[in-house]
Amino acid sequence: MRDKKMPLAQLLAARPAVLSSWPTGAEVDLDEAFAWQAKIPAAKRFSTAMRAARDARRVLTQPRAGVALIDEHIRLLKYLETEGEADLLPTTIDAYTRQNRYEEAARGIEKSVNAGTSLLNGFPAVNHGVAGCRRVTDAVSRPVQVRHGTPDARLLAEITLAGGFTSFEGGGISYNIPYTKNVPLAKSLQDWKYVDRLCGLYEERGFPINREPFGPLTGTLVPPCIGHAVAILEGLLALEQGVRSITLGYGQGGNMAQDIAAIATLRELADEYFQDAGFSGYELSIVFHQWMGGFPEDESRAFSIICWGAAVAALSGADKVIVKTPHEAMGIPTKEANAQGLRASRQTVDMLADQPRIETPQVLREKEIIRREVDCLLPRVLALGSGDTAAGAAAAFEAGILDVPFAPSVHTRGKILPMRDNEGCIRIFNPGAVPLDDDIAALHREKLAERARAEGRSVSFQMVTDDIYAVSKGRLVGRPR
């Protein structure tokens, strides 16, 4: 295996510019940060919790949550810990910070102070700085992760890792394509190499930082093979920079068999590709995201989606489930609504903990399909990079070999057109330039034709629209009225 790790000197050389991009950057002192991380008890380290869950075959629960002000944010997290019984805590970052618009974040903080309520959709960690972050991570008793959607997360990583967080979500593809419009992939991949290298550095010093690529992408009819390919690529990129604790993610699709197959294959394929690339000794875990698409406004119906997600998380043997709330369709949840989603999910995963895994013929078939598809994509991507994984990924998007549906970014072709088949599995009507083998592409088309026949209409864009709305209207497949 060729060592693709960024030389330490290169990282160190790049740091000053990053740290000086906002005043709080000056608070970061790496040695002091290691000393701080050294004081974090094992029970609060993310990687330890994930490994323990995997060993015990437990499904851990984790919410999303973040508000503008520190004290309010601490209250929120403590509430989710006690009243929500969350195993793992998040700190969701606001959308200005994600775009490195720290001035706007500052304005949001100010307005929130004045309004007496958070006007930001997350916690502006960069503005709050290292000390602010430490107040947060110190106040709670569970492991805390930074969850965001930031194409250039270098400063955010510097500040939050020094701030005592032990897990960092995202990746150069998954936090670009679904979250931005114009950022070139080469740029975000390069910036995430910095982040991964920084995490790897903490790992080297004995402070494992769990890394979690964002699996669900646009959360909207993403075919498993697309999500899996991106997740495995980002896993490889993190491993290359010395990360050891990796959690790959998948957003619930809706058909149980396909979802179970997706979780199983994500684990299996990641291991295969990681080992093929020469890695060993890493710790792989899998996170299942409850339904990431549009929710219904009615809270009872939202509970249904939450619980079904938790059920499939348990039945598929995921290690962690990211939990939605009954407020999902409406807005950032209150802490109470967030705890409700957590408790409903906890009841479900615990109640289902003793159920045996499900291996129906459908599950086996879907596993086979996903494997075949990923094997159509990933080797080509890796080959394109001739040894440089990031270059391969960027070239693959450029060539349309990888393509994410409904994404905002101009750097994905957006030609791939997914829709549901008659049983609700996500299929690909038009693969665009995604190089699926002919028999696989034919299988997708046949499955969609089957649905079209059942609905007495032809396969059309209307079906996609119907599918996008379906769950929020109480169905999985968007049937004609």
């Binding site: 606001d94 959308a95 200005y96 994600r98 775009q99 618009r101 706007e104 304005r107 949001g108 307005k111 309520t117 958070s118 006007l119 930001l120 959709n121 959607g149 679904p178 979250y179 931005t180 419009k181 646009t218 909207t220 698409g293 549009g294 406004e297 407020h327 369709a329 409406m330 807005g331 950032i332 949840p333 209150t334 609504a337 409904f406 994404a407 905002p408 864009f461 629209t465 996008i468 929020s472």
Partner: protein, 147 residues
């Protein structure tokens, strides 16, 4: 009515593209000429596009919660740049947190938006209202004035 032009986009640092793509397809089908700016559009980008294309309406989306901050002063900016008569719609999850629709509608109406929409509102109805509102407004040509 022959194809009025409308400018569509998601304001601020907001990346939610799914609804935007659906609105694009929908208003196209309804016979509007849609200029879709996609996500992460600033107030001035909206206004630039409206001026450039002689649009009759701007349809602003905001899903991610910062709508209140991002939309502040939008109407004033339109007037400044000569778009007194432009129809200004806004829709989505406009504020942070679950809030009664009435309160949100009031807030954005006060900010100068002609109509305020919520995720579950009927798009057919929105299209009808848009036609009416466009037809109802005085038909002077849109010209840029010095800001």
């Amino acid at each position: 009515m022959n194809a009025p032009t409308i400018v569509l986009g998601v304001i601020g640092a907001d990346c939610h593209s799914v609804g935007n793509k659906i609105l694009d397809a929908f208003f196209n089908e309804k016979g509007f000429r849609v200029v879709n700016l996609g996500v992460m559009v600033s107030q001035d980008e909206f206004i630039d596009a409206a001026i450039e294309t002689g649009a009759a309406a701007i349809l602003v989306s905001s899903l991610y919660g910062h709508g209140e901050i991002d939309c502040e002063g939008f109407r004033g900016r339109c007037v400044e740049r000569g778009l007194e008569q432009i129809v200004l719609y806004v829709g989505g999850n406009l504020v942070v947190g679950k809030t009664p629709h009435e309160a949100v509608a009031e807030k954005f109406s006060a900010m100068g938006f002609d109509r305020v929409f919520f995720p579950n509102d009927d798009l057919e109805k929105a299209a009808r209202l848009l036609e009416e509102d466009i037809r109802a407004r005085p038909r002077e040509p849109v010209t840029e004035r010095p800001a």
